[in-house]
Each structure stands twice: as C-alpha cells, then as structure tokens.
C-alpha cells in the first residue's frame, strides 16, 4: 500500500514544480517555489504529514485549504456512496438478467443501454436528464439540502455510468463462465439451470468482476464533478471547477490529491476483495508462509 502511494505523491510533488510558471514571481518566492525541487518535495511531504494542505490563494485568500474542503466532503461522500450503491445493485441485476436471457430481446435492450452510456459523452446525457426528466417527473432541478426529493436525480444520474459498467462486465464474465467445462459437468450431473447460474456461474463471474470495481469507482468520481456543478451540490466536484476557473493552485492541488487517494484506496480494496473471493489466491499466500 505504502509502496504504491509513495510514487504518486512524488509525482504530485514534482507537479508542484511544474505548476510554478503559472504563478507570479513574488508568490513563488514566498511559497518557497524557487527552492531546489527536492527541498520543495521535502516541504510538501512535511506539511502533508501534519495534515497541512497549504492555504488558498484566490478563492478565499489565506484560508487554509483544509478548512475550505472539509465542509464539502460530507456532500460528496453522500452522493458518491448513494451512486455506488445504486450502480452496484442495479448494474448487477441488469447484467445477471442479460446473461440469463442471452441472445433474446432483454439482452439486446441492455446492450443498447450499455453502448449508449459508454459512447455518448456523459456531459450530454447528464444535461438532457436534468433538462427533460425534471420536467417529466416534476423533481426539483437544483439540489437543496432540505428536500430529499431533489437528491434523487443527481444520485441516479451519477450511477448511470456505473450501472452500465457493472452490467457489461458481469454479463461478459458470466457468459465466459457458462462456456467452461465445469458448467457442462454441473449440467451433466442434473443441476437445474437456475442452480447452475447462481451456485456456479454468478459466484465465479464475481472474481474477475472485482478487479473492475475500482475502474467503475473512478468513473463515478469523474461523474460527480459534473453532477455536483450541474445540480449546484456544494461538494468537492463543484469546488474543483470553481478552483480551476479561478486558478487557485493550492486548492486544485489539494483536491487532486484527495481524488487520487480515493482512486488508490479503491484499487486497494479491489485487491483485498479479490483475495477474499478467490481461494486460489489465498492458498498461494498461505502456502508461501507455511
């Protein structure tokens, strides 16, 4: 875990250096950006270790970045988790259903959905959902903390990409598993289709599936940046766009760091889940220790 994190931060420390030319000389000096890069890097790590992400320059001058970001986190977290839960449950359901009905019209319909979501830029369908679904369903067009109804559309929109991702992978892996020999044997010993599906195929399809969890997590993150600004949710995504448009370097940098950490964390969880679901991996490790 640590080994994986280190180089990333190194990358960002480096970036610090490359960001510099955008800023004015004076600020550079003040921030110590004219120091040799290894000192900068050391400073950066030092500050980071104390939980200091620097202070904002333009957005809210001289306010520590951490203070600006902290109140935003719960909003992003809430929607992020809601979207994850939605996409995981709906995506898996759709994928399993498609695999069961492979080659028939429900499968074709699901595939069209997956193609549509993957092909069309997210910005486009997000906009159209906001535009037309608010009219059709009468749901509020902007987010407001007091009205739970206004939470529905952002969360649903955010999960669309994830649903497509999960559905596509689980369908593919289930179809792969269905072609394997042990399925033949399971059927030859007289198991019913439903039982074969659930006791063999689904579980085995989950193993490669787990690897794709992090990717989908990243998709949700990207989506959240859009959605938060579209629905005026006071989360980190909206903040990032604001910070970019106002060129507030430390703030952008801090947000980028947070998003990357989430990404790394997702991958780490993926690895753990992988080890849990596949007995072969577990054994290899245990065998080495024996």
């Amino acid at each position: 875990m640590l080994m994986r994190l280190m180089p990333i931060e190194g990358y960002f420390g480096d970036d610090f250096d490359r960001l510099a030319p955008v800023q004015r000389e004076a600020i550079l000096q003040k921030m110590g950006l004219l120091d040799p890069w290894h000192i900068q890097l050391a400073n950066f790590y030092h500050d980071l270790a104390r939980g200091d992400l620097g202070t904002s320059i333009i957005f809210r001058p001289n306010v520590p970045v951490a203070e600006i970001i902290a109140p935003k986190i719960p909003y992003s977290l809430k929607f992020g988790l809601a979207a994850m839960a939605l996409s995981l449950s709906l995506g898996l359901l759709l994928g399993i259903f498609q695999a069961r009905e492979k080659g028939k019209w429900p499968d074709a319909l699901g595939t069209s959905y997956v193609i549509f979501i993957n092909a069309v830029p997210a910005a486009v369908y997000f906009l159209f959902i906001q535009l037309y679904l608010t009219q059709l369903s009468g749901l509020p067009i902007l987010y407001s903390p007091e009205r739970p109804l206004s939470w529905i559309l952002p969360a649903v929109s955010m999960s669309l990409g994830g649903i497509a991702g999960y559905a596509m992978w689980i369908r593919r892996f289930m179809v792969d598993e269905l072609n394997k020999d042990y399925i033949k044997l399971a059927r030859a010993k007289g198991l019913s289709n439903t039982r074969v599906m659930f006791s063999h195929v689904l579980r085995n399809a989950f193993v490669p599936m787990v690897q794709h969890l992090p990717t989908t997590l990243l998709m949700t993150i990207a989506g959240s940046i859009f959605i938060e600004s579209l629905y005026s949710i006071p989360g980190m995504g909206g903040l990032l766009i604001d910070a970019i448009s106002r060129q507030d370097n430390p703030l952008v940098q801090a947000l980028v760091l947070i998003y990357s950490t989430i990404g790394v964390f997702g991958l780490f969880i993926g690895d753990i889940l992988m080890a849990i679901t596949d007995p072969r991996i577990k054994l290899e490790k245990a065998g080495g220790a024996r």
Binding site: K184, A188, G190, H200
Partner: protein, 340 residues
C-alpha cells in the same frame, strides 16, 4: 437376443453455424446392452462426442436431432425438449465424465459443494463415494478445493460425482487422454471395478485403440458421422472388415515392424458442411470401389454381433488383400476360434 438398454436408430444430428448447416451425425444406429462396455472409436470430428451428448440432451444450443430416435426406458429421448424433461435422465439415469479433469471442476467450490447431495446423510454418502473411487482420507479431502488435487485425483472426484446418483449408464468421454499412462491404467481399473460393483453400462469414447483393447467388450468405429463398423472387441481387432478399421489398426506403430514404413491414410476427413455422396471414406480409401463414389454402402452383417458398412462385403465385390498387419491379426482370430 437380449433387449437393448438404449437403442439409437438412423440418427441425424445437425448444427447450424453462421447460416450453414453441418451434419455431424449421418444416420448412426447403435444398440447398447445392459452391463457391457461399448467403446466408440474415431478421430476428432468423427462425431463420437456429439453422438453421446445427444443421449443426455447436452448438444450445444445450435445443434438438434434432425431425424431418428434414441430409445431408452420406453421413451424416445430424441423427442425430449427443455431442461425439465432432460433432468429426469441427465445425471440420474445417464451420467457423463469429461476429458479434461483440470477444467471440469469449479475452481471456487470445495469437493463438498460439487456433489449434488445435501444434508448429513448426503455427506456420509459423498465420503463413501470418494473412498470408493480410491481417494485416501476422504473426510479431509471432502473440504478441499479442486486445485489441491492432482489430475488423476480430480478425475476420480469427477467420477465420484457422476456416480453419486447411481446412474444406469456412464458415458466416459476420453477420460484418460489428459493423463499419464500410469495414471490412465489406474483410472481404467477404477472404471472397470465400479462397473462390476454397480452393474453399470459404460460407453467409452476414445481414439486410443490400446485403451479400447483394455476396456471394451464391444467396439463401434465412427467415421465422418456414421458408424462404419461395429462388433465385439475380438471381432474388431482380429477380424476387421471395413477398410477404415484396417487403416486404423495397421497404422499403429505398436503393430508395425521396425524399420518398415507404416500403413498410412492420406488426405483428410470430408467436409461435413457438404453433402456426402457414396461412402465418406472413399476418397482416402486405397481399396475403394467405383460404387463407393456413387452409392452409400448399407450395413452388411458379418456375424450376429458384427456388421460393417462397406461394399467390399457385397457378394459382387472383388476379393481384396487386406494390409499385412490385418492378415496377421486374422491369424489370431482363427487361432482363437480353434481353441474354442
């Protein structure tokens, strides 16, 4: 004559592949008698696996029985549709063991979960089965994953699973091809032992004539989707009539003479997408008659248990000299007959 346990008559099985139709089985007829071991021999693509898969309704989704019947326990299996019907047969009356034990078990399931039985009594039964197929320490093995077993052990587990519902017929599809010779011998022994213990009827699919000689009481030789010759093991090995069987036997290095070239078949099997005129083997057959290119040979009865599909058995056909190896084997046949 005994009543056959399972009887196939004039079976046609077709597959549709990308808009074209492939005829995998072209009018195969076969009887299976209770308690015997029938070996089906043929090269890859001859249809031996497809034929037996149709007995348990496990043809791929793009394949179907086009004509003929499969009679078993008073029913015509060729008319079975849907998994519900097949499940009364599959595993319970007719079980199947596949070629590659390495992929036949779900890698994520322990042996326990592979057996289709549940509950305490089921556990005892499963452990009993495991010990019967020669797995040491079955209580421990019961909770292990497939990757903790060697190839031979896995094949034993697969056989135990097939035996778990006490089927009448066991179909073994090249069960030892992926195994080493020493392990192969053990598995063959095991199958033979189970057969006598449970009064099983075994269909054994293989391309290895050595294995056939070991296990079979009767042999059916398949070529291009039809059964070209069928008889008792002795009749096929020592008194073969079809030129294809001749070629198979005399091309074996075991029966060849060192330093001399083996008998060899040229060319390749016919394309099953195309319609086959006459005898499918004719273009590769050095004993082909003109009529082989025109008209499909019927089954000629050699003895009550032995028939072959070749015009050479027609009384009008010229007498031909079979390859030296075959003559050599025939001497044994005559010898054997005299001893009786």
């Amino acid at each position: 004559m005994k009543q056959p346990l399972l009887s196939v008559a004039d079976l046609y099985i077709k597959f549709s592949l990308r808009g074209r139709v492939l005829t995998a089985i072209r009018g195969a007829s076969l009887d299976l008698y209770a308690g015997e071991t029938l070996a089906i021999v043929g090269e890859s693509g001859s249809g031996k696996t497809v034929l037996t898969k149709s007995f348990v309704g496990m043809l791929d989704a793009n394949g179907w029985v086009d004509a003929g019947f499969i009679r078993f326990a008073g029913q015509d299996l060729a008319k079975y549709r849907g998994d519900g019907q097949w499940r009364t047969i599959r595993g319970k009356k007719i079980a199947m063991v596949f070629q590659d034990p390495m992929t036949a078990l779900n890698p994520l399931r322990t042996v326990e979960l592979h057996t289709p039985l549940r509950g305490m009594a089921a556990k005892d039964r499963a452990i009993e089965l495991l010990s019967q197929v020669g797995i040491a320490l079955p209580e421990q093995r019961y909770h292990q994953y497939p990757h903790e077993f060697s190839g031979g052990m896995r094949q034993r587990v697969v056989i135990a699973i097939a035996m778990s519902c006490s089927p009448q017929i066991l179909i073994c599809d090249e069960p030892t091809t992926a195994l080493d010779v020493t392990i192969q011998a053990q598995i063959l022994d095991l199958i033979r032992r189970l057969q006598t213990e449970y009064n099983l009827t075994v269909i054994y699919i293989t391309h290895d004539l050595g294995v056939v000689a070991n296990v079979a009481s009767r042999v059916a030789v398949m070529y291009a989707g039809e059964i070209v010759e069928c008889g008792t093991s002795r009749e096929i090995f020592y008194n073969a009539q079809h030129p294809y069987t001749w070629a198979l036997l005399s091309s074996l290095p075991q029966l060849g003479i060192k330093g001399q070239p083996l008998f060899s078949i040229r060319g390749t099997p016919p394309n099953l997408f195309a319609e086959i005129k006459g005898d499918a083997y004719a273009p590769r057959n050095s004993y082909a008659l003109e009529i082989d290119f025109v008209k499909r040979p019927p089954c000629f009865q050699v003895s009550p248990t032995h028939y072959a599909r070749t015009w050479l058995l027609d009384p009008r056909a010229p007498k031909v000299e079979p390859p030296a190896t075959i003559k050599h084997l025939r001497a044994k046949f005559v010898e054997g007959a005299l001893c009786k």
